[in-house]
């Protein structure tokens, strides 16, 4: 489908007009926000955020060393580690692995990186069936759509819409009960698990010290995608490293709480390598594809800390802009506040010039981010980059004039008063269309404060 973020303005207008979208999203995100806050009640969030941030800072500041250390450990555990600079390279490698094992069916668990790579459509072009097994992802795949949230892919869909979809595509009875729909998906996917030769997953963390891949989930599909197959391919970003096994005591405590308000998700799988001598099942091969795809370009820039992100989705849930327009409006696999950073930073600022502006800068994202990314500060500095990159004559003029007015109190007062006169005469509507289409202008007073103050002082 490719990146659509350049069309943000059209996309969000289309989304915001959908009658049920805002209701669905509000309900779901506000519920997530509430359970998140509750889950942090019994634990010291500031401490955890502090530690998580420090550990991520350490990792990123020595990324090459930790990647090497990880590679050595993982290879020692008999994993095959492959570095891919671009999406093409990563896709080609996965295809190669699939072909060399004569794979027909792949079971996939949730991974944002594979979305970023457009991996599933690519494999399907080569005649390999690649099935999303996370319920939300499966729904979205059946609908021929993209996920609209990084942890809750089908958050934009109502149960009714899902029932209709299952009825159409799977021939299920038209029953909108979530337990029924879930059972339907289980039935279909169970067969896929039993016939698949290969599994693809992401990884939430890669531990440099031990070479483990950590996969966090609730449904048990990742556990099956990584267990019920001959070959397991992990596709993830180079920034997912954490230095020590013990660092998990911090990350395990923040991830579930931040994303779904759970103290612990149902399943956390630590994958160390392929089947060992005393095991009777598990994959014979484990591949780890480490993807750069724009990430290393953040190093050494003021946006380096954006690489701390653990993709928990908390910033999406609290974002009032996201809540009103949904994930598809962003035109990128990464929506919401973090998407408005990652999309221009990974894929080019000129490809997403509006995203850094699509925020009221309320800062709620920064407040909840478990790894302490100052999200709204980054949005602000990206705005500057975009302004420099994409000259707008009108805007340049506006802000030059603003500067000139503000540097001279006399001129400022004059313009202010003139504005007041025009405002009272009802002549400002035309130049403030963005405001007045849906809102009234305030009443303009006859005197400014400074003139009232001056008069008061003299008398």
């Amino acid at each position: 489908m490719g990146l659509q973020s350049r069309n943000f303005k059209e996309l969000y207008k289309k989304q915001i007009r959908k009658p049920t979208l805002r209701t669905n999203l509000s309900k779901a995100t506000l519920q997530a926000v509430d359970s998140r806050s509750q889950s942090f009640e019994s634990i010291d969030f500031d401490f955890l955020q502090n530690q998580a941030k420090a550990i991520k800072e350490e990792t990123i500041s020595s990324l090459n060393e930790y990647l090497s250390q990880y590679q050595d450990a993982a290879e020692h555990n008999r994993c095959k580690v492959f570095f891919a600079q671009s999406a093409e390279k990563a896709r080609a490698y996965v295809l190669d692995v699939a072909r060399s094992h004569n794979v027909h069916t792949i079971v996939k668990s949730k991974s944002m990186v594979t979305e970023e790579l457009d991996l599933v459509p690519f494999l399907e072009n080569y005649g390999i069936e690649a099935i999303e097994t996370d319920l939300g992802e499966y729904i979205v795949q059946l609908a021929g759509e993209k996920p609209s949230h990084i942890t809750t892919p089908a958050i934009h869909k109502s149960r009714k819409e899902i029932a209709e979809l299952f009825h159409d595509k799977l021939g299920s009875a038209l029953n909108p009960d979530p337990p029924f729909l879930t059972a339907e998906a289980r039935r279909v996917l169970r067969n896929k698990f039993l016939s698949a030769e290969m599994g693809i997953s992401g990884a939430n963390f890669l531990i440099a010290e031990t070479g483990d891949a950590v996969i966090v989930e609730n449904e048990g599909n990742a556990r099956l995608s990584t267990s019920a197959v001959k070959v397991h391919v992990i596709v993830t970003g180079i920034e997912k490293i954490i230095p020590k096994f013990n660092d998990l005591r911090i990350f395990m405590r923040v991830l579930g709480r931040s994303s779904t308000g759970q103290k612990m998700t149902s399943y956390v799988s630590l994958i160390r390598g392929p089947r060992s001598a005393f095991e009777k099942d598990g994959p014979e091969e484990v591949h780890v594809v480490l993807v750069d795809n724009g990430r290393s370009s953040l190093l050494g820039t003021q946006h380096q800390e954006v690489l701390h992100c653990i993709r928990c989705g908390a910033c999406l849930n609290v974002c009032p802009v996201y809540r009103n327009i949904g994930g598809h409006a962003y035109g990128s696999v990464y929506p919401g506040p973090i998407g408005s950073l990652v999309t221009p930073l990974y894929f080019g600022k000129d490809n997403a010039p509006d995203l850094p502006f699509a925020s009221s800068l309320c800062g709620n994202c920064t407040e909840v981010c478990p790894v302490g990314i100052r999200i709204h500060h980054h949005l602000l500095s990206l705005r500057r980059d975009v302004v420099r990159l994409k000259k707008s004559r009108l805007q340049d003029f506006v802000f030059r004039s603003y500067r000139k007015a503000m540097l001279r109190p006399g001129r400022y007062e004059l313009i202010g008063r003139l504005g007041g006169v025009l405002g009272r005469a009802g002549l400002l509507k035309a130049v403030t269309k963005g405001w007045t289409r849906d809102r009234e202008l305030p009443d303009f007073p006859v005197k400014s404060f400074r003139s009232i103050y001056k008069t008061g002082k003299k008398s």
Binding site: N324, C362, R403, T432, W435, F449, Y453
Partner: protein, 257 residues
Amino acid sequence: MRVFLFVPCFVDQIFPNVAVSTLKVLEHVGCEVIFPEKQTCCGQPAYNSGYFDEARLVAMHEVNAFLDYRGTSSEKSIARFDSERDYIVGPSGSCTAMMRNFYPELLKDDPRYEEISRKFSSRAFELTEFISKIIGVDRFKGKLNITVSYHDSCHSLRELKVKQEPRNILTRIEGLKFVELPYTEVCCGFGGTFSVKFPDISVAMAEEKLKNFRVTGAEVLVSADTSCLMHLDGWARRNGTKARFAHIAEIMAESIS
């Protein structure tokens, strides 16, 4: 206690009553108030729009308007700003946040950076914060029969970490009934230039906020930021929603008259 009054540009020009009320409240709690007349704007509109160079110049102008203040002919004594004793106080969480949290970022390469953050940014306070933390709420007394709810502006709440202060002040007013707003911490949708760049998102957020306000049954929605109120009031009037929107300084001033 001497206070150098900071009045945001749009408060000065469009909502002078907020500034008049602030002045009154500050004097009521025993402050000597000085208004340095060279001040204009904190620079936030340009900063939030990505025009950092413009913002920097305006910010420097604003800093100098306070730090280089030498009094006016109408004042008897020459009141120089003393960064050890004096405070800069304004009726806006947002502009205070700009001065306290964003100036350091915006001006970090300026040779005077150290001086500015010590003498200026760290002395800048939002009104309710100043009264609670520096003056002490017990210096303020008022009486007003009214039911209010309170909207936390994002910059007050998250940049300045001001949450309890305005509530403590409001609940001190005799006769005032305070009702908490559901989802009070959610942004109202103003967001400066965001409100005109993406008006449909901005008003969708206003709609949500006012829905929650109606649940409270209060007569007045109070906030420490006029910009949020202007946005909400603009939407309410367009949509025939009857409600009063008032800056906390206005309510405080009314309660002491």
